[in-house]
Every structure is written in structure tokens, then in C-alpha cells.
């Protein structure tokens, strides 16, 4: 079955870091470039994230994520450099459209921040198992119902995709044409909706009953199958990260 999680199962020191430390890393590495307001600091944060991606062996997986965001980045450059009023210094022109230097500087700041957020988040997503994220949050007080909802998304969506494929095969087997122009495709889509919705509803009801049969609503204190992920250097790493944040605030204030 297809997996919708982006997690890459590898062995690296980045994978060993616990989710809460990674959460602090996300917060600190997003906050520092914003607090500093410096493109250089932002670029430095990006560079560190890229090195960490390389160490974790997930750099390849980052490429499509960044590629998908290129459209957004391009829009930022065009809007900021060419369509924001009040700028005066023309950097270059494309026909009647002028691109202003002030706009390009502002756009570069936004792009650096955007990439920084993208990279720190992707590092966590690519190197942390979704179930570990949910379990960590549950240990910290997230309701087990919400935890189940999050976990089940990763299970149910691929199941639905797989079931759509089987249902589509079943209808094609009875002579339903699914290939051709838009009208043919839309017409072919209708017979899929019924079985998919019905099987999802039936599945949900069965799942709810199966959960209740296994005491899902019980009030007892829960135990966990997996041991809590314990990163050996979590305390020094967290302290360093928070110190960096404090230093950047002081530097900014002074």
C-alpha cells in the first residue's frame, strides 16, 4: 500500500533526536532569522539545515519539496519587485514591466525566511516517524482521540487510494471506459463515488466498533507499546538552541 508519510527510514544522528528537541529546533531556527532581520543569518540557518539534511541522508527527498515551492517563490519575486508601489530604483526591465531594487531586496528576505521555514520543517518531517510524533504529543497531554485521528489519517488515505484503484478496476472490468476526454473521465468518476463512500462509511463504523471492543474509551491510565524515545544529548542540544535564541534577542535589542 502506498504510504503518504514523507518519513525516510534511515539511521543517522538526526533520526535519533527526539521530536520535542526537533520542535525546539524548528522554533529557534525560524525565530532567529526573523528576530535578526538579516538575510545572512537566514542563509546561515538554511545552510545548517541543508547540512543536517545531508547528514540524515534525506537531501534527495528535499528536492521535490523545494521544487514544488518554486512557483510560490517566483510569484513573491514578481509581486514584490514589480507591483508594490513606492519603489524608485529600477534594477532591470522586462518590456514595460520594471523590477525595482528595493522590491527585490524585500523579496529576497521573504524567500530566505520561506526556505528556512520549509527546510527546518522538512527535516523534522523527513526524519521523524509520524507515530512517534503522535505518541510524544500524547505523552505530553494530547488526547488519545486526537492522536488516533492523526494516526488514522496516515492509514486511511492510502487505504482509500488503494480502494479507489480496485473499484476503478471493477468498473473498467464491466466495460466502463475510463480513458478519453474530460466528459468520459467525469462520467467514469461517478460510479466510483458510491462504493468509495459506502466502503469508507462501513469501514468507519466497523473501526469504531473494533476500537470500542478494545476499550478505546476507557478511563484507565494508558501505557505505551514503544519506549519513549530518549535522545542522549537532548539537554545540551536544547540548552544550546535556547541560548542561541536568547543571544539573538539580546543582539537585536542592543
Amino acid at each position: 500500500m502506498q504510504n503518504i508519510s514523507l518519513y525516510v527510514n534511515k539511521k543517522s544522528f538526526v533520526h535519533d533526536v527526539d521530536f520535542l528537541t526537533k520542535l525546539i529546533y524548528i522554533f529557534v531556527f525560524i525565530a532567529i532569522p526573523i528576530i535578526s532581520g538579516s538575510v545572512i543569518i537566514g542563509l546561515l540557518a538554511i545552510l545548517i539545515s541543508l547540512i543536517l539534511h545531508t547528514c540524515a541522508g534525506v537531501l534527495k527527498k528535499l528536492i521535490p519539496i523545494v521544487a514544488l515551492s518554486l512557483f510560490v517563490l517566483l510569484s513573491v519575486i514578481i509581486v514584490q519587485a514589480a507591483f508594490i508601489p513606492g519603489y524608485h530604483i529600477v534594477f532591470f526591465s522586462l518590456g514595460p514591466v520594471h523590477f525595482y531594487q528595493e522590491g527585490l531586496i524585500h523579496a529576497s528576505l521573504i524567500i530566505v525566511r520561506f526556505l528556512d521555514i520549509l527546510l527546518v520543517s522538512s527535516l523534522t518531517v523527513l526524519t521523524t516517524r509520524p507515530s512517534d510524533i503522535v505518541e510524544t504529543l500524547q505523552r505530553k497531554g494530547l488526547s488519545h482521540r486526537m492522536g488516533y485521528v492523526i494516526n488514522s489519517i496516515f492509514q486511511i488515505i492510502p487505504q482509500m487510494v488503494s480502494s479507489m484503484k480496485t473499484i476503478s478496476d471493477a468498473q473498467r472490468s464491466r466495460g466502463m471506459e475510463t480513458e478519453g476526454n474530460l466528459f468520459v473521465r467525469v462520467k467514469a468518476f461517478l460510479p466510483l463515488i458510491g462504493p468509495v463512500v459506502i466502503s469508507s462509511l462501513v469501514g468507519t463504523r466497523e473501526r469504531a466498533m473494533a476500537l470500542e471492543a478494545r476499550a478505546f474509551s476507557a478511563d484507565a491510565k494508558r501505557t505505551y507499546f514503544h519506549e519513549e524515545m530518549k535522545y542522549r544529548y537532548k539537554t545540551p542540544v536544547r540548552i544550546i538552541l535556547l541560548l542561541l535564541l536568547v543571544v539573538s534577542i539580546i543582539w537585536r535589542v542592543l
Binding site: S163, S173, R174, G175, E177, G194, P195, S199
Partner: protein, 272 residues
């Protein structure tokens, strides 16, 4: 000409292990059971016959037409497949509409489609439920609807994936009757099954799949006479065959009737 020709068929999913490893088979009108342990490649093979999957190498010819060169929808007029789970196909709000969906798709004229739909519903014993919502019926009845929906298309080849699932004795006998009737009409029925008693009682030919290869291919009696080979494929011979073996009979029994008849004859011989 054979109804189906399978030539040096190889198949694997992208980035997956090879599931089918060089299969050569020819199918005439004899009803054929496909048996084998889970993961042996049976369902993949049937999906390839239906054109839902395309061979990585080798060819499958349905009535001389290569499945690589025809869409599944067009192939539907020649070969029907009853899926394991009826929930995968049922979407109409009445049994009649569900069954007539296929005949309409392959362009059978309205009056003929109506006739074949009603006939198919009689054959599966659902003629009194034509206006019922399929989802108000039991799982076994929904399975019969999915069988009827393929029968109504009058295809020369019918593929069944686990038709006996959730069927009681009545349902099994009904399906057995259908397989025999279709075979009698010169139509080919190929079915994946795990119920060896049903295979023994119903099918003329049996194929044993193991690790992506056909390890046994013969008439059903010959296949089940090789008890050790059947067990090596992680299959259990039919109960009546096992009973005969344990009593030391040399004959391979496929039905209880044969077994009882022979036992009575032996008893009479012993008395004399």
C-alpha cells in the same frame, strides 16, 4: 483456437520482486481452478488475463487479441471478472440497475440487455429482489449480484476470484451449477479458490501456483492424486481424498458420492 494463450509471461510491480516467472498456458473451454498458497501470484495472474495489468514481458492472447493492444473496457465484451469483494463494484441503488450496468457499457441492445439481466438474476436466485437496494442484502447475496452482473454480459470467458467466500451450502451448490452450465455451453470459467472440496467437486482442470510458477497443471483428479506434491504447495487435499488415502484406497476420490459408491461396492465384494 484456444480461448486464452499465455506465452512466457513475466510480471513484477515497479521496484518489486518478480511475481510471475515465465508462465506458458493455453486455455480451452474446460472449467479451470487456480489454487495455491497466498502470495503465489494467482490474483495477479487473473488481473493480467483481464488486462487490468500488462505483462512486463511475454504475451496474453484473448481469442487471438493481445491484451497489450486493447483497453480493459473493450476487452470486457470478451472476458468478465467477478471481484473478490462485491463492495468494490456495487454502486447502483437497485439490484436490476447494478446487473444491467455491464451489458449497457458493452453496447448490448436494450431488449437483449434486459433479457440477459433477468436471466442472470434467475440463475443466481435473486429474481425476487430486482428492486431491492444491494446494500440491504447480505454479503453472500451481494456476491451473487456481482456474479450475475458478469453473467448478464454473456462473455465467453468468466473469471471468478474466490466465488465461494461467505456462501452457505445453497450458495456453493448454486455456483457449482453455474460453472457446470457455463462449461456445458462451451464458455470458459477460471476461478481462484481456497476451498479444495469445491474445486474437487466442480472443476475439470486444476492449476497449482507456487512462487509465481505453475507447478501442476492437469485434470483435477490427477492433480489431487499427487497428494505429496499438493502438500508441498502448502495446500490441503480435499477431505474426501484424504479420507480415501487414509483408508488405504488406491483410487483418488473427488466427491462423497464416488467414495460412498465405491465403499459400498467394496463391502459387497468383501461379503461375497
Amino acid at each position: 483456437m484456444n480461448l486464452i494463450d499465455v506465452q512466457n509471461l513475466h510480471f513484477s510491480y515497479p521496484e518489486g520482486i518478480e511475481l510471475l516467472k515465465g508462465i506458458d498456458l493455453a486455455f480451452d473451454h474446460r472449467s479451470t481452478a487456480i489454487i495455491g498458497q497466498n502470495g503465489a501470484g494467482k490474483t495477479t495472474f487473473v488481473k493480467l488475463l483481464k488486462g487490468l495489468l500488462k505483462p512486463v514481458s511475454g504475451d496474453i492472447l484473448i481469442n487471438g487479441v493481445n491484451t497489450k493492444e486493447i483497453s480493459v473496457a473493450k476487452l470486457a465484451a470478451h472476458i468478465g471478472l467477478v471481484f473478490q469483494n462485491p463492495g468494490d463494484q456495487i454502486f447502483k441503488s437497485s439490484v436490476y440497475d447494478e446487473v444491467i450496468f455491464g451489458p449497457h457499457n458493452i453496447g448490448i441492445p436494450e431488449d437483449e440487455a434486459d433479457e440477459s439481466t433477468k436471466k442472470a438474476l434467475i440463475e443466481v436466485g435473486l429474481e425476487n429482489k430486482v428492486n431491492d437496494n444491494p446494500y440491504d442484502l447480505s454479503f453472500s447475496e451481494r456476491k451473487l449480484i456481482s456474479i450475475a452482473s458478469i453473467l448478464a454480459m454473456n462473455t465467453q470467458i468468466v473469471l471468478l476470484d474466490e466465488p465461494t467466500i461467505a456462501q452457505d451450502d445453497y450458495g456453493k451448490q448454486l455456483i457449482q451449477g453455474l460453472v457446470r452450465k457455463l462449461e456445458g455451453e462451451g464458455r470458459l470459467v477460471i476461478s481462484i479458490l481456497h476451498d479444495m472440496d469445491f474445486v474437487a467437486e466442480t472443476f475439470t482442470r486444476t492449476l497449482v501456483f507456487q512462487n509465481g510458477k505453475v507447478t501442476m497443471d492437469n485434470d483435477t483428479k490427477s492433480v489431487f492424486s499427487q497428494t505429496e506434491a499438493v502438500r508441498r504447495a502448502y495446500l490441503e487435499p480435499p477431505h474426501v481424498t484424504q479420507l480415501g488415502n487414509r483408508l488405504g484406497y488406491t483410487e483418488t476420490y473427488l466427491t462423497a458420492e464416488q467414495f460412498v459408491k465405491d465403499s459400498l461396492r467394496k463391502r459387497e465384494e468383501f461379503k461375497q
